[in-house]
Symmetry: C2
Subunit: 542 residues, 2 copies
Amino acid sequence: MIGSYDTTVARWGSPDAPITISERGRLFLETEVGVPTPTPVVDRSDVKVPASQLSEAARSALADAVGVDALSEADDERLAHAGGFSYLDLVDRRDGDSALPDAIVRPASSDDVAQLLAACVAHDVAVVPFGGGTSVVGGVRPERGPHSAVIAAAFDRMAELVDVDNVNMTATVGPGMTGPTLERLLGARGLTLGHFPQSWERASIGGYVATRSAGQASSGYGRSDDMVEALRVMTPQGEMVLGRAPGSAAGPDLRQLFIGSEGAFGIITEVTLRVRSQPQERRYEGVMFPSYELGLEAFREIAARRTQPDVMRLSDPQETSSTLAMGTDGAVAAVLDGYLKLRRAANGALAIFGWEGTRTQVGARRDETWRVIRAHKGVALGQRVGSSWEHARFSGPYLRDVLMDEGYLVETLETAIRWRDLPALRESVTNALKESLHDDGPGPFVMSHLSHVYETGGSLYITVVARRDAGNSREQWLAAKAAACDAIVASGATITHHHAVGRDHAPWLKDEIGQTGIDLLHVVKTQLDPDGILNPGVLIGT
Amino acid sequence: MIGSYDTTVARWGSPDAPITISERGRLFLETEVGVPTPTPVVDRSDVKVPASQLSEAARSALADAVGVDALSEADDERLAHAGGFSYLDLVDRRDGDSALPDAIVRPASSDDVAQLLAACVAHDVAVVPFGGGTSVVGGVRPERGPHSAVIAAAFDRMAELVDVDNVNMTATVGPGMTGPTLERLLGARGLTLGHFPQSWERASIGGYVATRSAGQASSGYGRSDDMVEALRVMTPQGEMVLGRAPGSAAGPDLRQLFIGSEGAFGIITEVTLRVRSQPQERRYEGVMFPSYELGLEAFREIAARRTQPDVMRLSDPQETSSTLAMGTDGAVAAVLDGYLKLRRAANGALAIFGWEGTRTQVGARRDETWRVIRAHKGVALGQRVGSSWEHARFSGPYLRDVLMDEGYLVETLETAIRWRDLPALRESVTNALKESLHDDGPGPFVMSHLSHVYETGGSLYITVVARRDAGNSREQWLAAKAAACDAIVASGATITHHHAVGRDHAPWLKDEIGQTGIDLLHVVKTQLDPDGILNPGVLIGT
């Protein structure tokens, strides 16, 4: 599925199928952002790998817990588990500056995990659950906190499809199962999970659950938190088995305390997911609205109906023009370009709609949505634009690697808010990023789209491209990120809709749940993980 | 809306419109259960009201907190807040044996609630949040625990519609708002909440949230926990304001810790609910399946589609024959009766389907459901049967009062489970009740229906009618309830789908969430309510 570049850099994609930027794309970026200075990637041979800090006793206890073959302190393994895919994680990798875990362990069962946790407690070793490693918020960055060492726990030995029940419509999987494997195994039984985050090619099911991930078809299939029927979590204080029934009033929903807990409360060892029949028909279409405002109004109205499409995505004019310039599908670019010329409209907002289900359902739901689209002057761009989006929907991270080679800073942020405050939120975050990242050129370029649409609001996904200040990379981005996060919480939005809190958003969580909420999370953490060995620093900080 | 009988008994309905049992109904019960011995209700003048245990200092502090006019120790007020509507609560009221709160307080604001909690802590007074008072699991029974006194907090002064937002599609209300008032106020704006539990006429929004209530149209409109966008909770340790965005990945969903917390963690002072447009069309229909098994199969298949009706309810053959005998709508009884004679089928299973929405949506969704109904040999009984059910859907409690006058024990239990284990669950709970409540007559009579249908399973709602053993009422029912609860947890089902845990289900919660889960709830309780003044005994017991 994914090839392997040098593990130091952890690029997306394969060296056999390199991504390139078109001339048109390059021109667009140079016009909007300015000409960058290419930044070289450190050579593997120049990367210094510090010695593992694992004590002899800890090493021995960990080997006892998971088996001696399932413990590795090899340099390349440690480099491969050095954080996730945030812009700064990538910068660190490229510069050869990543913090490394002292070892990698690979438990094969729930019992292994229990023994692993006991060994970590006994030998004062912090443990970072490392699923697909795709966190963009520092959730898998190896942080030892006050402990003697830090290890990463990988779950490729707990990646089984444990059970599929086509009466209950559930699938039970190990936490290391990945999306592509699960869809392949479910597909053979006529089923689907319907969860397609941009990180789908690498991310694990345990990671989906630990981070409250939302896929691109969440408007129809739901978020990961809607899909979790049951879960098993191993904590240093015992196992939790939660979720007996499809609906329950048996007190607080404790599943919802572990979903989104990012490894701070325990390690997810099994997940039972709701699955669905594979759709008979799938139809994706592009639509152009004459303005973002009209598109937004249409989206709100469509969401208020109970027949909304499975995928709904509205690009702002900036993202629309970027799609036009950067897109790799020439035919699609021609359609969009033709449209914009015809209308002489620089403010067009591109929308993607996707329907999945039985033929009758897709037909009926599409009819109803199109009534709203037409009422808001949306113009059909056809299925080619829709399926072009669908085929490219995992390619964002691939493109980012190439842009970073060119010397660009590229990062995404996301949030959610109720309808009424959405336009002001977009403006405020855009301004914060522009102000913070302004240099002597025309940039930065900030664009966004609305996705993950709910009856009461939606998620805003923002991409920023600037010129990397190579001598000052960390400070440059941290200042911009802080400005954007401040703008988000000041707007009344959530600090994250689907990327999770990780370490990078932890300082803003208090704005969202108050000191009483933070104290409550600390108490839960202390109860389940009194020694604080579980993923130190995530969620509630240190 | 509801008239008032003697407050000692707290009957449903009004003395001006008394409910009676038809001759046919009486004969049915005498055949299935046996002839009962009518049990008289204690005369108000014979009820002994013990003196309030409130100290002078506590009285004065409470009066300072909520205002002297908002504190009452009057006998009738105390009697009116003596527990909820479980069978044993009603038995106690009828016998004049209810435990009473020492006083009733009526806070008018969030600040009042904060001061009220401080006064309770300072003077060692337990406080029971008392919304509509419709708990059937002992959730509002006044239990003082180790404290010097116990008071009930009523919320009729916090029952405002604070805000309606027809862009965000939300309504913000005080916790004392009731369903009928909210629907009237929303209806005037073309909106609806769509939450119709059987207790709708009395229950409060705060109560819905505190108990994770599910309404009869939950298949379409969602459960109360799906409807809560945001909430404010006052705890002795500070206020929690939760729910900024329609979707969030900002850690654990702490709303889900307070939803279903039954007043043990804090007092809900404001709720923001998702609302919907009033449906253009509403269509309710009756269907007869030749057997429960075929009906069940059809329900499962309908639920697996994403076009399921808003209301889906399948009575087992016992409940079907009871509906036929006990129903007050003669025309409907004739339809059902005619059907059963025609088919010579004693095993018919009555189903109710309800669709709400735009004309197009109702049409399309109904077509698709009917395809499944027909494939499972379901026969149309028409809209009259459907609307008869709809009009009688809040009448269960009214009928129970009359049956108790006759000397019957009448109680309901409910649970939920995934599809595959549902038939065995029904059998097991039915047998447990029959075994425990068997006397020298033909009874008890046990019947059930499936409602609140999910893609992965559904809720089973069980009604039992036996002859009350007047000299031994408490022991008779407690033994049967324990046997049923044991059967429920042994079947792998949840101890409650929508009635909540209260005090009555607390012993079984450990089976559901394990000791680690119970410990976690204790830790949360201790953090937020270190003095344990909030509703002692609910949820996690004493």
